[in-house]
Symmetry: C2
Subunit: 261 residues, 2 copies
Amino acid sequence: MLSSIVAVGDELVGGFTLDTNSHWLAERLRLLGHPLKRVTAIRDRPAEIVEQVRRELADPELTHIFCCGGLGPTPDDRTFASLAEALGRPLVVWEETRARIERRVKRMHEAGLLDSPELTEGNLRMARIPSEPKQVFKNRRGMAPGVVYEQDGKSIFVLPGVPLELKGVFTEELEPQFLAGGSAATVRELRFMFAVEARFYPLMRELEEKYPDVSVGSYPNFETKELVIRCLGLDSNQVDEAIEMVRRRSGELGMAPQRRS
Amino acid sequence: MLSSIVAVGDELVGGFTLDTNSHWLAERLRLLGHPLKRVTAIRDRPAEIVEQVRRELADPELTHIFCCGGLGPTPDDRTFASLAEALGRPLVVWEETRARIERRVKRMHEAGLLDSPELTEGNLRMARIPSEPKQVFKNRRGMAPGVVYEQDGKSIFVLPGVPLELKGVFTEELEPQFLAGGSAATVRELRFMFAVEARFYPLMRELEEKYPDVSVGSYPNFETKELVIRCLGLDSNQVDEAIEMVRRRSGELGMAPQRRS
């Protein structure tokens, strides 16, 4: 059960926008027991979107693929059309989404925000999605829908790139229906002040041999002068044993971890 | 002249750490005229690092590949060993780096920070790099070096993942020697308050046809209620003409852009 993210947008790859969506999703997916294998940020170019989606589809380790961004009303939003090509499906106007956008446009017209109550081509392209979705989600905060496809034994989730909309669709609709029941990995951390990372090398080698299913990482922060040792694994007993070994052995080496706050 | 980033680290893909390095590099590289094609964040797994580096090497559009992170002293740092495999080169101890690390360890011992002045295996693995680097950079803020390789007509830059070290090596050493002389794309933006993004659709289609070499994007921010229209291209006259067309036509539609601050 591994996931991957394809984050689509010139603004990400151009260094204009920090990709907080992928960071947020990565944490949520870990906590839900669907950890990520990789995150790829790509440009709004159809050929590159198609290539990237095909790479994810061809990866036998992946069960869940998240495509984020590029669903908007303007011509630089190309995710649905490219996804249709990658999945080998025609684009169709999804009537339920079209009707929902129409109602929104009418309300905006009535509120004086739009000159006309008619759907424009810009509105309509948000309702034009690859055919045969497994499910189309509402998006209470915007017009572009969230959509799930099933293909090659994988689920492909398409989410809007606007952070509020992405988080809304994910937590309210996609998570309870598609991501419940996973087992989150157990994470335990110890923090050391002014510790020398290289001194942990022999201990970490030992942990690797003794607990091959626990992933052990060390993360120095040069601004706070803290070193974090992090153990992560599906077997919580093993993770607890591993972190206890770090605590005990570091104490013997004269490096006491900080009390947990 | 396109670049790509491979950001290595379980902490990124696990949602523990926000990948600010790639965002910072993306902006710098755009301003230096070496724009990114994609950014891929992957785990500290040798097979996945090798696969990803080989993907970048096989991409004919790329001239510069940046591998960031995973150069530290602990066993979870696997970038140099994996890169050696991807490049088909043996790992060698780089004497200049080894000697520099040795001097640092001695100084830390003299300052009472280390029990022993001897190099440990943890220290040594930071000096063990794939053979025949084009250049090895000092890293004034840490022990792991920065390194450049040339292979398959591409430059592969290896940078430490600690943000202060990455930025230091990049700006002080790598940028002046390897990235000078590029032509940055021209970027022009207009900001609109309370504008409806979908109304820009026909204008953006027209811009696409009239200025095929200018990339035009629209970016709504639902918190600030601002819409940014951004034009980017190598020909600054065309970018200026395109943004002027946005200004004029949006004015005709009754949507005045904000004054530039």
